[in-house]
Symmetry: C2
């Protein structure tokens, strides 16, 4: 395939780029480096099948020019900051809704017919059905992040119906593993580095979430492209287990050999719009033959190991708000 990847320098994006190149596909990576890291593309740069195009998904005509000759778009660029959505409500609209519309218009103008899109389990809001399947009862949105991803999904589906495109939409739980740059594990690790005896936790620590190792996530995406033939294919991607934030804390502290005093912010959720229980039914994807390799605990430990070996990730992002929502 000749692929075009938005958010190519991000956590999941750069991991996908590497896998696509390893499989022999060509890749045009598109990123504005607002949150992406050039370091993550080090391997890709050494591959002649890779080309980087520095640009913003808000610049539709740039994307359209860069997309020429491609036949598959992976749209991963997004504002993934769930927790601080209310501080800048325009950001989700711009970076998740309008950006996706720009991608679709660029595809239409460039005659690219296939798309993969990373959505989120947050679109289920506070689901009545847990584990939540893809056809759960019509949810009510409780975060701008979820609402904006839902809007993007809708636009994609409508473009597929209207313009004969095909799409694969993946509703992800929090992704863990190498190149993780943002979320509660990073937040906790940074805190424990600064003051090993104290840990501050949003909520009551009992929020239940599911997690998925980044390579298992990419495995699922690539498998489904082969195996799912519908015009619009929607898959939950997560593990058949969940854990409490308190479990994460225990694993991290055990791994680091620390016994901090833990102080809780209180309440049953980390912030307004946080869903206290996200756990997806992923039978649809498993029925295609997908089997994730790592469990939650291993994914969290791998994430900590990556952070231990890459302190520059912490340092470079001091100024950025930390979100424990999507990751």
């Amino acid at each position: 395939m000749h692929t075009f990847v938005t958010g190519a320098a991000g956590f999941v994006g750069s991991s996908l780029v590497d896998r696509l190149l390893q499989a022999g596909h060509s890749v045009v990576g598109f990123d504005d480096f607002s949150t992406g890291r050039p370091e993550f593309l080090a391997a890709a740069y050494r591959d002649t099948n890779f080309r980087l195009e520095r640009g913003s998904v808000l610049d539709g005509s740039h994307m359209q020019r860069a997309m020429q000759g491609c036949d598959f778009v992976f749209h991963l660029a997004a504002n993934a900051d769930v927790r601080f959505g209310l501080d800048h409500p325009r950001r989700d609209l711009d970076q998740n809704v309008i950006a996706t519309w720009n991608v679709l218009e660029a595809m239409r103008a460039s005659h690219v017919g296939r798309l993969a899109f990373t959505s989120t389990g947050s679109i289920y809001g506070e689901s009545r059905v847990i584990p939540t399947p893809e056809d759960a009862p019509f949810p009510i949105q409780n975060s701008l992040y979820g609402a904006s991803k839902l809007a993007a999904e809708g636009l994609i589906s409508a473009y597929c119906e209207g313009f004969g495109m095909r799409a694969h939409i993946f509703r992800l739980v929090s992704i863990m593993g190498e190149r993780y740059t943002h979320g509660h594990v990073l937040d906790f690790y940074r805190q424990l580095l600064q003051h090993p005896g104290h840990l501050y936790v949003l909520g009551d620590g009992k929020q239940k979430k599911s997690y998925l190792y980044v390579q298992d996530c990419i495995e699922a995406i690539l498998l489904s492209l082969e195996a799912a033939p519908e015009r619009v294919n929607i898959f939950n991607l997560g593990l058949d287990e969940y854990s409490e934030v308190n479990h994460s804390i225990r694993w991290i502290c055990e791994h680091l050999g620390l016994h901090p005093e833990i102080r809780y912010g209180g309440g049953d959720r980390g912030w307004v719009g946080d869903s206290p229980f996200i756990y997806l039914n992923c039978a649809r994807m498993r029925n295609l033959g997908w089997t994730p390799r790592l469990g939650i605990r291993e994914s969290v430990i791998r994430t900590v190991q990556f952070l231990q070996q890459n302190h520059w990730v912490l340092n470079a992002r001091e100024a950025t708000p930390v979100s424990a929502g999507s990751a």
Copy 2:
């Protein structure tokens, strides 16, 4: 209440304005007259509780200024053109998604906490469950119109959760009655006026839709504002019956005393993205004590009678594409 109504000069908007004024509320009507008609505000203009503000919902700061002192927003302005969405895909994004975001931001800046929003049964796509309840299985969008209304619903819900607003969201079937300016009844009536012996029908005439009389729709909206106490209240609004397009044709022709030769475009839907069967379960609204007064046949006849008495509606809109989608 001190109300602010977007789309105040439209079919449903102007009918709502009249009802609000009759009930003693003050109304600031906001409309850019791109599809609204000044004629529909003739009664409102005579009421000292009414003020018109000519402006676009794409101009958020204008809306914010105009909204000062109001405590309730009815957001009815929209691109309601389902059928031609694919000819100008930006229009739904602008007029339904970004416009709704502008309304929410204007409300936030103006400290207005309550909102009513007219959404559509089209957001259920081609539902597996018919009649379709509000908590039907998570649908896949098949039109830009539906997708854009779904996006607007999501933004509204997220703003309610995040900023403590309250919303009433109404998923409407096609609305009929006085001031109807757009849809299949107008299309058929205009055709029969031009050539009484011939009628051209999109699809196979067997598309099944439900309809609702405009005054019954407004009755439901006003009742639910009193009776539904949730932060986000979602209601289907339609009749407990549906009809085929062919039934509409028969009623219209009987009423006009015509026997045209009918030619069908073919296929089971009128256009790409048309849902061949829209029929909503409206038990939630009925359980609040709402009882619509007119059936489908009476609603269609009333619509034709309105058109017969208001040919200016036809003439003024010759250049506008006719949609049988939302109406």
